[in-house]
Amino acid sequence: MTELRTIEIKQEILAENSREADAFRAARRAEGTYMIDIMGSPGAGKTTLLLALIEKLRSEGGAEIGVIEADLASDVDALKIKEAGVAAVELNTKNVCHVEMGMVEQAYAAFAGKKFDYVFLENIGNLVCPAEFDTGCHCRIMLLSVPEGYDKVYKYPPMFAVVDALVVTKFDYLPLNPDFDRQALREGARALNPKLEIFEVSARTGEGMAELASWLRARRQEELKQA
């Protein structure tokens, strides 16, 4: 005897990834490690910003820093980071468009127990897919460069809605892109995400970098207090 019936499931589609992410976050916090997910389009300046930010965090007060460099293929960015004397592991997604927890855990294990104050995950260069997947970080930051244009918030809204901070990079290019409407970007981004922090920086000139670094330091302190 068979029959047609309905079975209730009521389950988040990404439940397993979220569970793993929560456990990973808690484990890192217990070790005093603050994890930051850096997202943005290819060419937004993720690696360049990271190098400048690391220098800032190290020079003021000193900090042990590690980087997980996610890339579709190649180790170009991981090498750049290593050349700067920073512990880096490469996370090659083999052409998958985003990073998931299983990949993060595997990459993190390559640090072989080394302890850090901050670990940055440089996500895949992509303004869409990475937003959907919790990567077990304490803080998510997205980059949008001045040359890309302010209207990305209206064309790719989801990532703006899930991050803690928006970092407008290549701010020194502003005179070359007079159409970049800072106010419209600010308004649109805060409409999607009222608590969003916004920084305008240039890794090249150093503008805004101190503010970003001190914001991260404060966020880390706040997170560790909860441990």
């Binding site: 079975i7 589609i13 009222p194």
Partner: protein, 135 residues
């Protein structure tokens, strides 16, 4: 592009639940997906069909309910739709405040599945069809 990874999770959950219930076929899978999720329904359905081939769910129809992006006013509790492309929608139509938190739009879950399978267990706890497994 990431639809494939997401449908893999859906297929895993659906197949596990269907097999636990002794289903011979899954007819439908009901999903709720918020509009703030970057999901293209056509691609999602095609990926599901691909990932489910060879399983009890290979013929299942995906029934997707989309949920709009709404916010809740922090001042008067009114719930309203906002559209990032329409500035006039960012203000509470009830009290005029622009201070709100996300109310819906990020949903992403499986509600239930329709299966063809053995009648509910209490009717026939150990029927003939199950003779092998009941020893």
């Amino acid at each position: 592009m990431h639809e494939m990874a997401l449908t893999r999770n859906v297929v895993d959950v659906v197949v596990e639940a269907a097999e636990a219930a002794g289903a011979v076929e899954v007819r439908a899978v009901h999903l709720t997906i918020g509009y703030m999720r970057d999901i293209v329904e056509d691609i999602f359905e095609r990926c599901f069909t691909y990932m489910a081939r060879g399983t009890v769910a290979e013929k299942a129809e995906l029934v997707i309910t989309r949920v709009p992006f709404t916010v809740r006013c922090n001042k008067c509790d009114h719930v309203y739709y906002i559209d990032v492309n329409k500035e006039e929608t960012w203000v509470c139509p009830s009290c005029g405040e622009r201070d709100y938190k996300l109310n819906s739009g990020m949903e992403f879950y499986i509600n239930d599945i329709e299966i063809v399978g053995p009648a509910a267990p209490e009717v026939e706890a150990c029927g003939q069809e199950k003779a092998d497994t009941c020893g």
